[in-house]
Assembly symmetry: C2
Homo-oligomer: 209 residues x 2
DNA sequence: AGAAAGAATGAATAATGATTCACTACTTCC
DNA sequence: GGAAGTAGTGAATCATTATTCATTCTTTCT
């Protein structure tokens, strides 16, 4: 034998892989998964198309990995926002606000993660993401019911309604083509977010803020 | 001259066109727009693929027309549900229930109309539909604010939240592949709808039902 | 240096499906 | 019947992209 993979090489490969992942990200943030072409990704990464397939089984697998990484980050943010000190309603409101702020900051990305139709393997990842998400919210709602600040209700379904209401308001009417119509000034955004959160919190608590 | 289109011929053509539309419907109801193939549509309709192009400019145009017809029907149903006698909240609740019932009855169809990503011309139609829809709800919410049964709020945004909450609960987590997970018994469905409507009505009115 | 093994390349392939168009079949009117 | 025009046909074409693979380039080790 003459060649045996060395640590240096392993690192170089890992770096190449990371680079491909970053470039794929860039494509997805520009127009979602569907329009992210392998050739474009390879071009951005400065490698040949075949090289992509040396690092990933297929386009779908590449996307699934990207998706997993991105959603893990989002779930962590929500978890973080839910872990502040305070009542359940305060914690929920905090996480909704975080969600909305992040979605507005990267609306195509939000759309890709939440609403864009994707291939089965990616959809599989999305389902995991959704479940993680719903579980977090559901738990917080349950906490609120125990604490007495939220009335008895189907916590799972309410968490779904929360996600639906906020997603629709922020990414729903907006295929990437129409991103232009989102409010752009800081004040406009704050007002938008406040209105949505008011609706959501009323929906949960049955009281006006 | 020897041939001039006659009334009989016009009718026959109209019938063929209608037939194509119906078969396209069938395909869309089975798996959404994206998976509706021209060849399949032609097969169902018992005509050659070329014939489709005799009646419609392109696949996209055909879909846009289908979409227009279908959404008009949906908007009419909501309008109808909103026009019953009663307070604004009663009327809104009635229309939400109608919406939910219809979505559950044909979930792929609902998904295709509400959430499936579609080509630009179809998306254009969807935008019109969404606006018609939002306007109806918004008006009813405004009525409620005037009547005093709904507190002051951004009516347009609230109507968006309503649609989002209800859509997510009913069609959101369900790409056509996963339709199986919807509740199937009549009782289950009623409970599901009631929970969603409770959330929505609280979100609007800030009071528990 | 040179042999062995892996990595990278990118032009060629393959698969999918919408759309076309040369041709046939049908309607209408004289 | 037949001329003129329209509708229907469906195999062939075209376009788009993911994926492959024969070849070339690099790295490693003796």
């Amino acid at each position: 034998m003459a060649y045996r993979e060395t640590e240096k090489m392993r690192q170089r490969k890992a770096e190449a892989r990371k680079n491909i992942i970053e470039c794929t990200w860039q494509c997805v943030e520009e127009g979602g998964f569907r329009s992210a072409r392998i050739t474009r990704i390879a071009g951005l990464a400065g490698v040949a198309t075949g090289t992509i397939y040396r690092h990933f089984e297929s386009r779908e697998d590449l996307f699934a990995e990207i998706f997993r990484l991105a959603t893990q980050r989002e779930v962590d943010k929500v978890k973080e926002a839910l872990s502040i000190k305070g009542t359940a309603t305060e914690r929920l409101e905090n996480s909704l606000r975080k969600f909305a702020e992040r979605a507005l900051k990267g609306s195509i990305k939000a759309w890709a993660l939440i609403a864009e139709p994707v291939d089965p393997k990616v959809e599989q990842e999305r389902l995991i993401y959704r479940k993680a998400y719903a579980s977090l919210m559901e738990q917080a709602i349950q906490d609120g019911i125990s604490e007495g600040c939220i009335p008895e209700q189907n916590a799972r379904l309410s968490s779904t309604c929360l996600v639906g209401a906020i997603s629709e308001s922020l990414v729903g009417p907006l295929s990437p083509a129409q991103t232009a119509s989102l409010p752009t000034t800081h004040t406009d955004q704050k007002e938008l977010i406040d209105s949505i959160i008011n609706f959501c919190m009323r929906g949960l608590t049955g009281t006006r803020s």
